[in-house]
Amino acid sequence: MCLAIPARITQIDAAGENALVAIGAVTKEISLALVNDAAVGDYVLVHVGYALNKLSEEEAEYTLRLIEEIGLFDEMQDTATLASDPLTGHQA
């Protein structure tokens, strides 16, 4: 739903190019190529494997509270988890 979740940087590699971030209970490796001066403990917005920009702690925590309020960290909503019937390329 076009959501970008604030993630806290937990580790940065020696070259400063990649980082591990925590998004709720999930840990991800991301690229820091698009942001300047990111440090461990900073919050960043993550989009498909890249840190997009840094967020202030206040802004990040406020957004995280909103996300917790929706319950996204706890469970995926049943109505949104949809498996499809297979679609073939040779239908009439």
Partner: protein, 396 residues
């Protein structure tokens, strides 16, 4: 691993009848329920924080729905400036694909350095167009612009795109690449990754891959959208939207399919990979021209402002990077009672939508070839979330 923002799981399976495609989504389509009970002003302020990938398009649709529900009509200049911000954001989102993903699919290094510069310039444009950060507040009434600063940033953007994408100033590219002949000359003479990708698709006979007969989403009336989204089964519609029982497409390709260049490319290569990727590229140049024009002329509002359909309910729509974005707000006694969002990814990644049909139409090939072609089609359809692509054999 679950991602709170959701993922698309795309499975291609070889069967005796060819490829089949399954798409499963974990996107949280009802997250906007969060805004029920809040004041319209608070909703307009919070929503772009949460929906921050296309925050300007989200803010545009949000404020339009809230103003519509309240019977407020914004000044044409305010709508035009808001729309300009959405255009700049769309340029940024397309360049993300063009600079980071297209080189990767050529086996080259993503151009992160240029993309970092683009992000910085786009932030400058946003700041110059909305220095107080209140343009998307319901009832915003004035617009300001630091014209000199804006012109300087746009000139920097033009220079970067001339070097790294178009091989010419974007306005000149639009002039020269207005039809199939101009496009051929461009891919033969320019050596940017974008031109190389297009040339490579034609040389490898891959330009027409992934053709499918999903038709574009028509321009739905507000009353139709309200009936679908605000219905008891509206949540199902948000997750798997159809119009008249059929999946539809809403994308840069459907927006630009009537342009001379794209019409020529469809004639030559069909409604497949090349035409779709070229539509993204063309849209960057066209939107840049619109953004420049608005700066020069204080362009009159080209949009019909939102007209309240009925007391207390409003529809907001934005031409977001990936297609039509629709918001519905119901407001009673200065409180939002219902808030729903219909995003283009749900149309385009519908289990029977354009991406599923395009992938199922691919010819079978070796795993690495099939995977690369599938990724190209996914990039051409452009999800706004991460995706997993798996290939598998027929289950016995």
């Amino acid at each position: 691993m679950s991602d709170p923002a959701g993922t698309l799981n795309i499975q291609l399976e070889r069967t005796s009848r060819g490829l089949t495609c399954r798409i499963a989504s974990t996107r949280p389509v009802t997250a906007a329920d969060l805004f029920a009970g809040r004041a319209p002003a608070a909703t307009a302020a919070l929503l772009p924080l949460l929906y921050s990938i296309c925050a300007k398009a989200q803010a545009f649709a949000c404020v339009a729905s809230l103003e519509g529900a309240s019977g407020r009509l914004p000044a044409p200049a305010v709508v035009a400036r808001r729309r300009r911000m959405v255009s700049v954001e769309t340029i940024r989102e397309h360049l993300w694909r063009i600079l980071l993903d297209w080189p990767r699919l050529l086996g080259e290094t993503p151009d992160r350095v240029t993309m970092a510069k683009i992000l910085s310039l786009v932030k400058d444009l946003f700041r110059l167009s909305d220095p107080e950060g209140d343009l998307f507040r319901p009832g915003a009434s004035s617009v300001v612009l630091d014209r000199r600063g804006d012109a300087r940033v746009l000139a920097d953007l033009d220079d970067i795109l001339a070097r790294q994408v178009f091989g010419a100033h974007p306005a000149r590219w639009l002039d020269e690449v207005r039809d199939g002949g101009g496009f051929d000359r461009w891919i033969e003479t320019v050596d940017t990754p974008a031109a190389r990708l297009m040339r490579g698709l034609i040389d490898a006979d891959e330009a027409a891959l992934g053709q499918a007969d999903v038709t574009g989403l028509p321009d739905l009336r507000d009353a139709d959208l309200i009936a679908l989204i605000d219905a008891p089964e509206g949540v199902d519609f948000l997750a798997r939207p159809t119009w008249r029982g059929v999946a539809r497409e809403t994308s840069p390709f459907t927006r630009r399919a009537g342009c001379g260049l794209i019409r020529d490319l469809i004639d030559r290569h069909g409604r497949g990979l090349l035409s779709r990727l070229a539509a993204q590229l063309l849209e960057v140049a066209l939107l840049l021209a619109e953004v420049r024009r608005e700066r020069a002329e204080e362009m009159p509002d080209p949009l019909i402002p939102p007209v309240p359909m009925m007391a207390g309910i409003g529809i907001g729509r934005a031409d977001a990077a990936r297609g039509l974005l629709v918001h519905l707000a119901r407001v009673e006694r200065e409180r939002v009672t219902t808030y729903r969002i219909l995003a283009p990814t749900e149309w385009n990644f519908h289990p029977r939508g354009i991406l599923a049909r395009s992938l199922a139409a691919l010819p079978d090939a070796a795993d690495d070839v099939l995977r690369r072609r599938a990724e190209l089609l996914i990039m051409a359809t452009d999800p706004c979330v991460a995706f997993d692509l798996t290939l598998s054999e027929t289950r016995v």
